[in-house]
């Protein structure tokens, strides 16, 4: 069969666009953004719609279409992980400190080092932050506009991709934590013995999750 002749001004039929999206996502190990798909496909294509079709087509199959932040990727279905022993890479065991720090960054982002230490009640070791940066699971966010302009940390798209999250809003238990007020920054009541010199300012981590 001849491939459909495409005029310069006519987008390929949707079935064809779906094939294209499928091929591009399939060939890549990394999630591909909508913008990237648009750039690669012929003019006039609608990759968003093609993605929706493709997602439905792969429902219940051995491979799934997943969203990672603003990007899309094909991944094997989690229930078949046991078949994949050969492919799985032994990841370095994260320390308890690293896991907790990661969770605090994810749920409180953007969060300063001082705030992490406040929550954990213990100093954050150098290596912990370094390790998470190196895994590309956290990165620097914007500086806090408070005295000292401390840097903040936020989680990355690689973090979302690794844990199969579409966005930071989908973190497990986020709503409950917020409802219980556990994500509020609640500074220690000021003691009557002079001001507390801890200059961590009230954080507003909610900005990230609010639209």
């Amino acid at each position: 069969m001849e491939p459909a002749e495409l005029s310069l001004f006519e987008a390929p039929p949707m079935g064809e666009q779906e094939r294209m999206v499928e091929a591009v996502l399939f060939a890549s190990t990394e999630p591909v953004t909508l913008a990237e798909l648009e750039r690669r496909m012929p003019q006039g294509c609608n990759p968003a719609e093609a993605l929706a079709h493709l997602r439905r087509r792969y429902e219940g199959r051995g491979v799934h279409l997943v969203q990672v932040g603003p990007a899309y990727a094909l991944r094997t279905a989690p229930d078949l992980g046991y078949l994949m022993h050969k492919e799985s890479v032994e990841t370095r065991k994260l320390s308890r400190a690293a896991i907790e720090t990661l969770a605090i960054v994810a749920y409180h982002q953007p969060v300063t080092r001082a705030e992490i230490e406040e929550i954990r009640g213990v100093a954050v070791s150098r290596g912990t932050v370094d390790q998470l940066l190196e895994l590309d699971w956290i990165r620097l966010g914007r500086r806090r506009m408070t005295p000292g302009r401390p840097v903040t940390f936020v989680v990355t798209e690689a973090f979302l991709a690794h844990f199969g999250l579409e966005s930071a809003r989908d973190l497990p238990g986020l709503k409950e934590l917020r409802a219980a007020g556990l994500l509020d920054s609640r500074p220690l009541p000021v003691m009557d013995t002079g001001p507390d010199d801890d200059d961590t300012a009230p954080s507003d981590q909610s900005e990230l999750f609010e639209d």
Binding site: T29, R75, T76, A77, E100, A103, A180, L188
Partner: protein, 263 residues
């Protein structure tokens, strides 16, 4: 406070003593005072919001006292927390002084309860996070990405970490690398080669390499290391050129050398 009184009555129960000992054995396993408090609070088996801070403070102080009695060194932050809890305890037990400024003891207690609840909540979600299906463990990306095209382009990449490291490298080099200072303690291979060439005529029988080290380089370990390494490299070079022979009876034994052709 009746509840607290009850608890004080029973605090010498054998079960409690056992629990204390278990905690002491674990002292290194705690990640700071807050972690320790959270662990102690577990024994109250109540909602963290309804926890008795007074009771918790008692437990903490008792724990710290026991550890100190056993002469286990406690990090300063444990002691700071102990001092603070002792203060809080006194505030909770005594009626507020009239006209006293600042937050009430109840506010401080509530804040501590909040901190514990928050830490506990973060622990829980951390566990939930790690229990999720993970990429490369439970689900997988395409194993064989395709590079089908003949068009090849090089894309240069660098991460923020690379950038920061590069900058750190430059700045630390400035701070820690005065070159004159360096040379004072570094013997180069060229220098050693020059020296050894001059000494070649004096190498008769097998002799120890270290006996050829220059004056004034044997005293400090760093200088000795540098000179030894340089001379070792130099004699290897000379052996390669067929000027000397080397031998060593076993690992770490003295390295012996002599002029080639000498019998």
């Amino acid at each position: 406070m009746a509840q607290t009184e009850d608890w004080l009555e029973t605090r010498k129960a054998p079960a409690d003593r056992l629990a204390d000992e278990a905690l002491i054995i674990d002292v290194e396993g705690f990640e700071g005072p807050l972690d320790l408090l959270l662990n102690l609070s577990r024994s109250q088996k109540v909602d963290l919001r309804r926890i008795s801070v007074l009771q918790l403070a008692e437990q903490y102080l008792k724990f710290v006292n026991r550890v100190v009695a056993l002469r286990i060194e406690l990090a300063a932050d444990y002691l700071v927390m102990a001092a603070w809890l002792a203060y809080l305890k006194s505030r909770l037990l005594l009626p507020p002084e009239p006209g006293e400024a600042g937050p009430s003891a109840e506010d401080l207690a509530a804040h501590l309860a909040f901190q514990l609840e928050r830490l506990s909540a973060m622990r829980d979600v951390a566990a939930r996070l790690m229990a999720r299906d993970q990429l490369g463990r439970d689900f997988f990306a395409r194993g064989q990405p395709e590079a089908a095209s003949t068009r090849r382009a090089v894309r240069y990449d660098a991460s923020l970490l690379d950038l920061m490291r590069a900058y750190a490298r430059i700045r630390t080099r400035d701070d820690f690398r005065p070159y004159a200072f360096d040379r004072e303690h570094v013997f180069t291979m060229e220098q050693a080669l020059d020296r050894m060439r001059g000494l070649l005529g004096y190498m008769g029988a097998w002799s120890d390499l270290t006996s050829f080290l220059p004056e004034g380089w044997g005293a400090s370990p760093a200088r000795r290391r540098s000179a030894t390494a340089a001379h070792f490299a130099a004699v290897l070079e000379m052996a390669k050129r067929g000027q000397v022979e080397l031998k060593q009876s076993e690992i770490f034994a003295p390295l012996l050398m002599r002029r080639k052709g000498e019998v």
